[in-house]
Symmetry: D2
Subunit: 131 residues, 4 copies
C-alpha cells in the first residue's frame, strides 16, 4: 500500500495544542497527489491535459490527536469506482496509533464541465481497486 | 434557523479558480462558534471553564463551487444528541444555490480527558434539536 | 481612515495559544480588499478587466499577541506611490493596544505581464495618499 | 548553507494560479524549524524547556511566482544577533531562479514573559552567524 509522510508544522497546530482538524483534509490531498504520481496519473498532467477533478465529498474520523513535529504516515487506496466517481480511502498513523480514517469522492470533468468516465482518463486505476 | 455569513477571501481560493474544499471545514467551525455564541454556549467560555470539545468526525458534500468575494450563507442546526455526542448539521447557500452540505460530530472532555455528558454542560442544547 | 474588522477564528491560533503570525499577512489582504472596495477599486473588477496585482513585498512587526474571539481593528492607508508601485500601510489594534504594524508593496500587470502605471487604472488612488 | 525543500501543495495556490504570498511566511517557519533541528536547537525542545520564541518581525520580497508541484529550495542563515534578538535570513530558489528573499526577527522569553539572552539558550548560534 502506498504511504506518504507529513511532518506536522507549527502553523498547523491550534491553541488546543494539537493539529487543527481541518488540516487533515489537506493532508489527504497531499497524500492523494503523491499517490496519483506513484501510479503515473499526476494531477499536474491531468490539469495540463485540460481536465479538472473536483472533490465531491470528504469524510474524516478523528481517533487520536497529533501535534507539532509528529510524523504522520498516510496510506491511500482506491476504495471503489463507478463510471464517473472514484472513492479513495485514507488511514493515518502516528507513533503506532491510528489517528485518522477518512475517504474522498471525486469526479472528472473536461473544460466544458462534462463528466468524463474515469477509465477513459486513467485505465490503470482499475487494477488498483482494493476489495 | 441560525445563519452565519462568510465572505470568501482571496487566500481561500485555489488555482482551479474556486474556494479550496478544505476551507469549508473551516467555515463550518466559524459558523459553529457563532451558533454556540447565539445560544449562550460560547466556546471561549467552555475552554475557560476547563473543558475541550474535540471534533470526532466531519463530513462535507460539495454541490457547487464558490469563489473570491462570494458571500456564503451558512445555516447550522443540532441534528441529534446522545449522552456524549452532539451532531451538528450545516447547509451553505450562495447566490441562491445550495453549495455545500455537511455535519460534524463532537464530544466534550474535561481536563483529564474524561467524557462529560453534554446535557451537564449545555442543558439549553436539548431544546434546539431539530427533528 | 478606513477600518476593517477581523474576528480571530479558532483555526487561526497555534499551540502557543495565540494567533499564528502568518495569518496577519492574510488579514492585511482581507483589509486591503475591503479598502479597495471602499474607494471604488474592487479587486474582483480589476481581475475581470484582465489585470493582476501581485504582492511585491510584505513587512510585519508584531507588537502584542491576539487570540481566538478577539476582534482586530485594521486600519489601511496608502503610504506612497511611484509610477508602477503602490505602498499600503496597516495598523492593527485589539483591546486598545497596537498589536501589529506593517506594509505591502504592489504592482499592476496586464495579462502579458507588462507593468501598468497605477494612475491609469486607479486615478482615484492619488487623492488617498497620506503624508 | 542549510537548505530545506518544500513541494508546493495544491491548497497553497490561489486563483491567480500561483502560490499565495502568505504561504512563503509559513515556508520560512518550516525552514527555520528544520534549520534549528540541524544545529541541535530544536524548537520542540525549547518549548518543553519552558521557553517560547515569538516572531518580532517578518519581511518578504517576492521575485518570481511558483505554483503547484514546484519544489522550492529554501536556504536559511543567521544574519545577526544582539543580546536579545536573532535575525534569520532566507533565500528561496525554484527552477534555478531566486523566487523569494526575506528575514525574520525573533526574541526568546521564559514562561513569565521575561526576555532571555539567546546566548544563554543557544550558545552554538554565535558560530553560525554569517558576515
Amino acid at each position: 500500500m502506498f504511504v506518504y509522510r507529513h511532518k506536522v508544522n507549527y502553523y498547523e497546530t491550534d491553541r488546543m495544542g494539537v493539529t487543527h482538524h481541518s488540516n487533515y483534509i489537506r493532508f489527504m490531498e497531499e497524500a492523494r497527489v503523491a499517490f496519483l504520481d506513484s501510479i503515473g496519473a499526476s494531477y499536474s498532467m491531468l490539469e495540463s491535459d485540460g481536465y479538472i477533478s473536483p472533490v465531491v465529498e470528504v469524510n474524516g474520523r478523528f481517533k487520536h490527536t497529533t501535534t507539532f513535529d509528529d510524523v504522520i504516515e498516510i496510506s491511500v487506496c482506491i476504495k471503489s469506482a463507478t463510471t464517473f466517481k472514484l472513492k479513495l480511502g485514507y488511514e493515518m498513523h502516528c507513533n503506532g496509533k491510528l489517528v485518522f480514517e477518512g475517504y474522498s469522492l471525486h469526479c472528472f470533468l473536461d473544460k466544458a464541465g462534462k463528466p468524463i468516465p474515469f477509465d477513459d482518463l486513467y485505465p490503470q486505476f482499475r487494477a488498483q481497486i482494493q476489495a
